[in-house]
Subunit: 335 residues, 2 copies
C-alpha cells in the first residue's frame, strides 16, 4: 500500500528542520519567518514525495479532531437522512467531518455508539436521544459539547433543536375541526420522550378547546412491533361505538404504517376518515386522495444544530434551545 511519508522524511530530504516543514505545511511560514527559499524547497519536496498530512497525529497533539459525532435513530428514515445531509453539509463548511451511527431506538446501542464516538475524541456530539437513557445522556452534557435534535430532555442546561411539537399537533386538531371533524384521535409511540408527550399534549389541549365534549383518544404503539400494534389500535378506534372520524399520526413512520393498514381495511382516506400525517415524504405527493401533513423544516434544523454545536465547541457557555415551527402542507392528489 506504499509507505506513508511524514514531515520528518521531507525535512531530511530537503535538509531542513521538521519545524520549518510543519510551518510551511500549515501555511504559517510568514508568521514563523521561514525564508521564501526554504519554503519553496519544502513545498517542492512535499509534492515530490506526495506528502499527505496525518490528521490523526495532528489531532493527538492538538487535542482536537475537528470531528462531529452524529447518533440518529435510523439513517434510512428520510427524516434523519435529510437531517444527516444538512448536518454533513454544514459541518463540512466549517471543516468538520462527521462520524455517524444508528441507534435503532435502542438505548444500549445508543450508549455504545456515544462511547465509541467519545473514545474517537469527537469534538462534539449531535444526538437523537432514545427512550430509557435520559439520565445517562444528560451527564454527557457536562463532559462534551452536545446538541439534541428531534427530541430532548427537560433541563435548562442542555442544547437542543426540535420542532414545537405541541403547536404542531394542536394545529392538526384545529385544522380537522375547521373542516368539520370532531372525533379526532391521535396515534403515537408508547414513549415517555418529550417529543411524543408534547404531541399528545397539543392534541389534548386542542381537543379541550375545540371539542370539549368529545372524549380524547390517544393510541400508542411500541416501536418494537409497529405493524401489529397499529393494526390493533386502528381497528379498535374504528370499531368502537363512537367511531373516530379523524386521526392524527404523530410520526413519519406511523403515518406510513397507519395509512398502509387503513388501506388494507379499505378505508377511504378523507371520505370515510380524515387523516393528518407527520413529516414530509415523497409518497405523500402521489396519494390519490387529498392529504395534509405537518412538515418539519428538517434542513434548517440540521444546520442549526451544527451552528449551536460549533458555538459550544468554541467555548460559548450559555445553552441554546431552539424550537422550530412546523408548516401545514396540503398535497394535491393524483387525478
Amino acid at each position: 500500500m506504499g509507505k506513508k511519508v511524514s514531515i520528518t522524511d521531507i525535512a531530511k530530504k530537503a535538509g531542513v528542520s521538521i519545524a520549518s516543514v510543519s510551518y510551511v505545511m500549515n501555511g504559517i511560514e510568514k508568521e514563523k519567518r521561514v525564508s521564501e527559499e526554504v519554503a519553496n524547497k519544502i513545498r517542492e519536496t512535499a509534492a515530490l514525495l506526495n506528502y499527505q498530512p496525518n490528521h490523526i497525529a495532528k489531532s493527538l497533539k492538538q487535542g482536537s479532531t475537528k470531528t462531529i459525532g452524529l447518533v440518529v435513530a435510523d439513517i434510512s428514515n428520510s427524516f434523519f437522512g435529510d437531517m444527516a445531509k444538512a448536518i454533513e453539509e454544514e459541518a463540512s463548511k466549517h471543516a468538520y467531518t462527521v462520524i455517524f451511527g444508528n441507534s435503532n431506538e435502542d438505548f444500549s446501542k445508543s450508549r455504545n455508539l456515544v462511547n465509541t464516538l467519545m473514545s474517537r475524541q469527537v469534538d462534539g456530539l449531535i444526538v437523537t436521544p432514545v427512550q430509557g437513557g435520559e439520565s445517562k445522556i444528560q451527564k454527557l452534557s457536562n463532559k462534551m459539547p452536545l446538541v439534541f435534535v428531534d427530541r430532548y430532555i427537560e433541563n435548562e442546561s442542555i442544547n437542543y433543536v426540535i420542532l414545537d411539537n405541541y403547536a404542531a399537533s394542536y394545529d392538526a386538531v384545529e385544522q380537522l375541526y375547521n373542516k368539520g371533524f370532531r372525533k379526532t384521535a391521535i396515534v403515537g409511540y408508547d414513549s415517555d420522550m418529550m417529543h411524543i408527550q408534547e404531541r399528545f399534549r397539543g392534541y389534548r389541549e386542542a381537543m379541550k378547546r375545540f371539542n370539549p365534549d368529545v372524549e380524547t383518544l390517544v393510541g400508542t404503539v411500541s416501536y418494537q412491533s409497529i405493524e401489529e400494534d397499529i393494526a390493533n389500535t386502528l381497528d379498535a378506534m374504528l370499531q368502537q361505538e363512537q367511531a373516530v372520524d379523524s386521526i392524527v399520526f404523530a410520526t413519519n413512520t406511523l403515518t406510513i404504517a397507519g395509512l398502509q393498514h387503513l388501506r388494507k381495511r379499505r378505508i377511504k382516506i378523507q371520505e370515510d376518515l380524515s387523516v393528518i400525517g407527520f413529516d414530509g415524504n415523497v409518497a405523500f405527493d402521489f396519494f390519490s386522495f387529498p392529504f395534509t401533513y405537518v412538515k418539519q423544516p428538517v434542513y434548517e434544523m440540521g444546520k442549526k444544530a451544527v451552528e449551536i454545536l460549533i458555538n459550544k465547541m468554541n467555548g460559548k457557555n450559555d445553552f441554546e434551545q431552539v424550537k422550530f415551527k412546523h408548516e401545514m402542507v396540503d398535497s394535491i392528489p393524483v387525478k
Copy 2:
C-alpha cells in the same frame, strides 16, 4: 469539560507501570502475565478515575484507525440511506466506525471528501464514484483498500458491488413486451458512467430481441436540471408521431421526477402509458395504479461491500467484483 485521564495517570495513582495498565486495559494481562493483584488494582483505579481510552493515540501508534470512509452521492436519497444503514451496521459488527460524506454527484466535492477521509487515516473506503473522476479515483485503489458501490469503473483490479444493470433493464423491456407494449423508451442520465450505460445497453439489446422493428428511444437528463430536462424529454416522447407506449426510468430519482411530470400532464399510468421504475420507494406502495419496478437488494449490497473491504484491509490480495440480481416487483394499487 474535565481533564482527560490517561494511562499514565492510572499508572501513577496505582503505583504500577504504564505498560501494565495498557495490558490490562486491552484485556491481555494473562498473556503478559500481569499478576491478578496488580490487574485488579488497575481496574479499580481506572474505574475510579473514570478512564476513557483515547482511540486517537492508539490509532497513531498502531497505524490503523478501525474506521471506514463512506462517500455516497446523496445520503438523503433512500437508496443511499438504506445502503448507509447496512454499511454502518455491518461495520459496527466488526468494530469499525463509519465516517461519511455526500458528493452530490460533484467530482471535486468527491475528491475533497476522499482526501479528507484519507488524511483522517481511514483504513478503507467505500465510494460511489461520480462522473468525471474515473482516472483519479482509480489510482486511489493502489494506495488504499477501496470498494465501489452502485457504480464502477471498468478495471479488473478494482473491487465493486453493483447491480447487474444490464439484466435489470433487459428484463424491464421484456416484461413490457409480455404485456403487449412495443414502443418502449428509456430515460436515464446524460452520463458515461457504467451503471447508466449498462442500463441503456440492456434496453437496446432487449429492444433488438423483442421489438426489432421499433426504433429505440433513449432520453437523457442532466443531474443538474432534472425537472426541466425530464419535462422536455417526456413531452417529446409523447408528442412525436409514433408516440411511445411505455417507458423505463433508469433510476430512483428519475422515476419519481418522471411520474410527477406525467401526473402533471394528466397521463394515466398503465392506461395511457405503461411505466417501469427503478429502486424501491415507499411511495410506490401507495400508487393508485398498478406499478412495476426493479428492486435492488440494497441491504445485501451494503453488507457485501463491507465484507469485501474488510477482506482487503486484512491483506487479501485478489479483487472481488460482485453483481447482484434485481427483483421485479409489482406493487398492488390502493383501491
